[in-house]
């Protein structure tokens, strides 16, 4: 049975909204600080972290006893990054968290990598008993007696990976072996050893000889889920590069290029902008790459670099709004893309409180609409769908960050300052 038939025969799972955190407020009332800018489940799915524009890292924990349906509760938070000033360039460095990645937990300890534009930090959060010494007056030497005040989550900053990026960091990704991670900025990808903060190895550098010849920037980079030597790098020209760290130390020339031939007939003013990939990930089984440009999700098979196995338009009506999107600059928004644990489904966000779950073959595309009353509003989007988008189509309520639980069919989506969970 081919993939296509199999997908058609499987009933599309029924998703329901299970929880949300946040309130419905008008855009002007949302404090800019609280806008969620990064979202990530940990390796087990028992924890979820989010980062916001104020540089805070907030952790949620799954408290559900029911193993098939997680339920999340706020656990703890810490101030990860603060505003800094770059003296050499006379520029402020924003504290907004751009990306979060979890490392393997150990015992009562959680390890989280967070990054803003320039600095990557490794945080450890330990569940500890906070004790205090009972003051005791004694004439002989006595060891302190301690009483437990409370049990709490104590954060500690384990490592700071210094400013070794010339441009703004857009992603970090941890290697499957837990020993290395990569960080990507506009023009380069660096490889770090988690224990070493003194240096980093540059593995991809797209900086041209003359800076005015610049035509391509890196938008995202991610490690393969199981092979510790493969990374995928997405660029603004719609090109994907898959680099094998074993083949060479510098991968610009040896990376495999996944790019479609351009169709000159369909080019228009917006083509260059909307072909920019906002995110790209390997599927959970490592066989595919799911990439998202402004209007489509493209599914590439690692064995075929010439064309994607599927190009799935997410929401065709947006095509008619390109002018408006250009004007309000929403055309430059970057939406994340995630894989389901079974590798058959893809999650990505959109405007107007909408997010989509699509199946890998493009046969089914479900559009969900967030609301603050826990109803599940979903409608299937057939191929060649058209619907006029009225003035009520809200470009401000966008779901830029979304994430799929690593082992279960549960997703977390963030819209401005609110967080929603859906599950099957």
């Amino acid at each position: 049975m081919g993939n296509h038939q199999m997908a058609q025969n499987m009933a599309f799972p029924e998703w329901k909204c299970s929880q949300f955190f946040g309130e419905r407020v008008e855009k002007d009332e949302v404090s800019d600080e609280d806008v969620i800018s990064a979202l990530s489940f940990d390796t087990t799915g028992n924890f979820l972290s989010l980062g916001d524009k104020a540089g805070r890292l907030i952790v949620f924990k799954n408290i559900s006893k029911n193993s098939s349906r997680p339920e999340y509760e706020y656990l703890t938070e810490l101030q990860s990054h603060v505003k800094e000033f770059d003296y050499l360039k006379s520029k402020e460095i924003d504290e907004k968290i751009n990306d979060i990645q979890w490392l393997r937990p150990q015992g009562n300890n959680m390890y989280i990598l967070t990054t803003n534009d320039k600095t990557i930090k490794l945080w450890k959060i330990s569940e500890k008993s906070i004790k205090r010494a009972i003051p005791v007056k004694s004439s002989t030497l006595k060891l302190p007696k301690l009483e437990v005040i409370e049990r709490g989550f104590i954060p500690s900053l384990m490592e700071v990976y210094p400013h070794l990026h010339d441009y703004s960091i857009n992603s970090v990704s941890v290697c499957s072996d837990g020993e290395f991670f990569i960080s990507a900025d506009d023009l380069s990808v660096n490889l770090w050893n988690i224990e070493r903060t003194n240096d980093t190895f540059n593995i991809i550098n797209l900086k041209p000889e003359q800076i005015d010849e610049l035509s391509e920037v890196i938008t995202a980079a991610n490690f393969h889920p199981t092979s510790n030597n493969l990374i995928v790098v997405a660029s603004s020209t719609g090109v994907l590069r898959v680099a094998d760290l074993r083949v060479s130390s510098k991968c610009e020339k040896t990376a495999q290029i996944f790019a479609e031939a351009e169709d000159p007939a369909s080019k228009n003013f917006f083509t260059e902008i909307i072909c920019s990939l906002s995110d790209a990930v390997f599927s959970a089984n490592g066989k595919y790459i799911f990439a998202r440009d402004f209007l489509n999700v493209k599914v590439w098979d690692l064995a075929n670099t010439k064309s994607p196995v599927a190009t799935i338009p997410i929401f065709e009506p947006l095509k008619s709004k390109l002018c408006e999107l250009y004007e309000n600059e929403c055309i430059f928004d970057k939406f994340s893309i995630s894989t389901s644990p079974c590798s058959n489904y893809i999650l990505t966000g959109l405007f107007n409180n909408n997010f989509h779950i699509l199946d890998r073959t493009g046969d089914r595309n479900m559009q969900f609409e967030l609301n603050y009353s826990r109803r599940t509003v979903v409608k299937p989007i057939p191929k060649k769908f058209f619907e006029p988008l009225g003035p009520s189509y809200n470009f401000d309520r966008k779901i830029l960050k979304s994430a799929w639980h690593p082992t279960q069919n549960c997703v977390a989506v963030a819209c401005m300052n609110s967080l929603f969970f859906y599950h099957v």
């Binding site: 150990q106 030497l141 302190p144 020993e179 510790n228 074993r246 083949v247 130390s249």
Partner: protein, 576 residues
Amino acid sequence: MAEQIPVAVLIEELKSENIKKRVNSVRQLSTIAGALGKDRTRTELVPFLVSELVEDEDEVLAALADSIGDFVDLVGGPAYAVSLLPVIESLCYNEDTVVRDKTIEALKKILARLEARRAEAQIQAMVKKLCTGESYTAKSAATYIIPIVYQSLSPSAQAETITLYGLLGKDEVPSVRKAASLNLKDLLKLLPTAPENELVNMMKLFAKDEQDFVRFYLIEDLLTFARASNAQKQQAVALPFLRGLAEDPSWRIRYGICDKLSEIGSMLGKDTARRIFFPYFIKYLQDGEAELRNIACLRMGKFVAFLEVEDVLQKIIPLLKALSLDPLNYVRSALAGAFGGLAAFIGKKSSNDHLLPIYLTMLRDESPEVRVGCLASLEELSRVVGMEVISQSLLPTLVDLVVDKSFRIRVAACDFVCVFAKTLSDDEFASKLSKFVVDLINDRIFAVRDAAIKCLRNLAEIKGSIWTERNLLPLVLSQQVKTNYLHRMSTLFGLSVIIAYLSSDAITKQVIPVLQVLARDQVANVRMNVGKTIASCFNFMRDKSEVLSKILSGMASDPDVDVAQVARDTLEALSS
């Protein structure tokens, strides 16, 4: 002097909110233990450390690991050393590498004092607990510990420990397998006590591991194994592994092999090196990955010792031209450095025919890094083919290097000049090099002037007194009339390095007058350095103490405080 804090306060501060105080108390644990006495240390302090301190910050734990190694006497001597093992065990759960390294050091100290057989049960229990828990840092720590406790265990305990180590080598967490591969060499060092079959099986596992660094550490493991084995085993066991690694698809593994080619050659013998590893070496010189070409060039000089001259002439020489045109600077530089060893191996005629033309081209490479790389070969090469041939190309190169924009290149140029000068006669030096030396001694960057002065010392040592007097002394003295005070100070620094090689006559006639003049220099710094120079050179000018004292007395009443002080101190040293 640090304040003596009462022990009671130290104890209290073990749980202070302020981390610096906690660290301080932990550093003085031996004081606390001394005050509590052996019994209380054993029954109260140590358990307290285990239950309360091991959740503390890494900085505190590192201090704890430092202190605990010396606790054996504080708990009552070797018979009680076992009571310290729980502290070691708890520290192994920490993920910081500094803490872990110190913990291992502490354990080694404790084991040295422990009565091994009596403590076997506890040691065994500790190892088992670390290996079988959930914590991957504890498992990694166990791979460091097993090799160091192995020999103190009974045969049955040893067998169990090896089994545990084997399980760690198959752990699903990559960092545990990495630690197992890294530390396998310490187990291999214990051969033949350690069971060879089991260890070889572990190596087989590691050779197939997906993780690059597990295979990478295997290289060192194999070298250790080979060292402990006879020739037959080396060929039968180590060699196949090494061949597999030499062809590994990951460039890092091939790099690791290439790096250790000479060690592999020494271990397995010239014949194996030639027949089996030489073809790999040739491949590495042409590898697509620049790092590999680089390491191959860097190791070339040593590796040729395992080859026949014919091999070099037929297989390596043809590749040199292409390598000298490699797009990457550091590869060309590494190649340039290899010429010395090559020349020494293939002899004068072949060097002249094959090496010299390429070397001379590289001396004129556009990258200063490459030209500096040529320096590494210069001496050996000139010894083989003679300096005259090289010097003609060397001079234009030096001219460029001495005025290069980067000061680091100019520092390297000093070394060049030095090597070159060694082979020149008086006249040649005077006509060709002295200008360079002067320029370098007068460079605007101190590091360059300093390197040039050091160079002078080397030259004086090699060439001897007469040459030094005739060539270096005038050079040094000529600086005294420069308008920039820094250059005048170069005179003094230069003098202090060559003074050992000057004749008494030269000193009286040439050096002393200069000192007298500079002692009245208008810049205080210069005058002060006259005092310092006299102090450092006095051993060579003992017979001139009268005139020197006069110079110094004149400066003792100098209006500048530092000048006067130095002069007075020197006078005192002279008279004693």
